[in-house]
Symmetry: C2
Subunit: 335 residues, 2 copies
């Protein structure tokens, strides 16, 4: 009593036509099929509740209508919106998305690329985890098209990129702070083995340089993209007796951690010290005071990456394409 699914053959038999005919009708490649036949076949298909088997189809067309989405960790509030944007565009185009969490582990990433290759996905959207010291990444010898998202990386294998200009965004943010009159601005950075952290730090330095403010490296702390780090770094800045009027943070998580510590020390934000984040994660508008930050277009990144992928799959070989999306300064209460 093996559960057999109804197939195109069943329809063919019931309708008294060949499977080819059925296939053509179901795929609307039916210019030369008579109306009565078409209707009969469609009717029967509906009656027996026919569901196509896309494995079989994929085997012959070598298209799975499936995309892989590899990112560090869906639990990190930065990524769900990306995933959602990706999924939305995918659905519109009839694609589905397999999701993979790497925890920024290159080995894991490589395994996933391999797995997705076996599953014959039509493309991969990748937030690449390679650190600078990249041992040969699986990205390099993948045979399926890859679009990079959020993090830049150079490889002949990537077909496109969707990024933001972190350095510029960061510069704009610091400029805003300077414009508000703050001069001594501390910076709590993320890990410098990531390109985003390097670029953001560079933007910070550029902004200072442009306004003729000296770069004081004692005001800069390098760590991780986590609120725990912000919490620690803020303490260390205070304990070192630095004087500063504002803290620009590598991302919102850091900012929130820092704010927490300042609050514990009885320092008022923004009256005593202003705080600025980066990302505009969901939480940013809910903390007290609401966080001024630089909004990354996460949803759009996901959406556009998939869009680019689909464009390219459908043969509009636009060649290598890079998309730089705009960030937006979101002024709230913390500055």
């Amino acid at each position: 009593m093996k559960k057999r699914h109804t197939t195109i053959k069943d329809i063919a038999k019931a309708a008294g036509v060949s499977t080819a005919t059925v296939s053509m009708i179901l795929n609307k490649k039916d210019k030369n099929i008579s109306q009565p036949t078409r209707e009969r076949v469609l009717r029967i298909a509906k009656d027996i509740n026919y569901i196509p088997n896309s494995m079989a189809r994929s085997l012959v067309t070598s298209q799975t209508k499936t995309l892989g989405l590899i990112l560090p960790d869906i639990v990190n509030p930065f990524f769900p919106e990306i995933a959602r944007g990706a999924e939305d565009r995918a659905r519109e185009a009839g694609y589905s998305i397999i999701i993979c969490n790497t925890d920024d582990n290159v080995d894991q990433e490589n395994k996933y690329i391999q797995m997705l290759t076996e599953k014959m996905v039509d493309g991969i959207i990748l937030t690449h985890s390679a650190n600078r010291n990249d041992e040969m990444s699986g990205l390099e010898n993948s045979r399926i098209p890859i679009i990079l998202i959020d993090r830049d990386y150079d490889s002949p294998n990537v077909l496109g990129k969707v990024l933001v200009d972190n350095s510029r965004a960061s510069r704009d943010g610091v400029n805003y702070l300077i414009g508000k009159g703050y001069r001594r601005i501390a910076y709590i950075a993320g890990p410098l083995n990531t390109g985003t952290a390097r670029d953001r730090l560079e933007g910070y330095r550029m902004a200072l340089a442009e306004k003729g403010i000296d770069y004081d490296e004692r005001l800069v702390r390098v760590g991780e993209y986590r609120s725990k780090w912000g919490y620690e770094a803020a303490a260390s800045l205070l304990d070192d007796g630095m004087d500063f009027e504002a803290i620009f943070c590598g991302n919102d998580a850091i900012a929130i951690g820092a704010m927490k510590r300042l609050r514990e020390r009885g320092i008022a934000v923004p009256d005593d010290i202003a705080i600025m984040g980066f990302d505009d994660i969901y939480i940013a508008s809910m903390v007290d005071p609401e966080l001024t930050t630089i909004k990354q277009p996460n949803y759009s990144m996901g959406y556009e990456a998939v869009n680019m992928m689909i464009d390219s799959i459908q043969g509009n070989k636009i060649g290598k394409r890079n998309l730089i999306l705009d960030t937006e300064l979101v002024v709230r209460k913390s500055s």
Copy 2:
């Protein structure tokens, strides 16, 4: 110049054996294959960088090693952990996960079930979106195994459930508040067409009843699971001139919204009014004051659901199985 992948046939030819032999070796069903042959085949497979085509395999085995995960919205901070738990267990077992966002739209859910069926996933993990007025749900005539998560629903088609006892958890939470001496406790509920909201409200009433506190319906507001609703409901409670010492909220989002409004009105939490949430989302520990709440085991829910699914796929037909996971009262500063 069509891009052809290397197949098992290429290996077979190069090794001078049949494809069956290669297949057996690659799948470790190779009891009666000689060691030299085995080594030769493996060698060649590696050399030509062979990658199996799982479409072809799936077609014959009718197993895709893929699971569908249908949930309302991955952007809602409640769900990423579930997704992560699911993905982690899936990966351990060699499965991958297709993710689907329904926005609590039953039509969308049905379309996804259909799509996943076409893709021949081995199972579906579903946070069901049906409201009470459920027009025939696609769940009912799916032919693939379904495991329900977070939201209960009765259907012969579901193979198992992973839930928490919302009513009990809620009762425990309110009991805690009562234990702390609060008597007049308001309740800001989620939408009562969801089972979770109904159960949580019931728990609230039970706790009151047990301690002989009158249920005052003017202290109860019903709305949505969003912080905006908490923000509005808090205002309405205050504006109606109700007196109360604590607010128990249907979830953390509501609680955060309510806290925001109280702050704006200059009401101190917890000194003037205590607040308690439900879920323990990531943000809960970052707001000020940190939110006392009831932790749902989201990661475990995802993990266990997939685990149950895999168990059942692998033939350990344990029959219909329901798993009720424990919640945990997390006492922080807001109460």
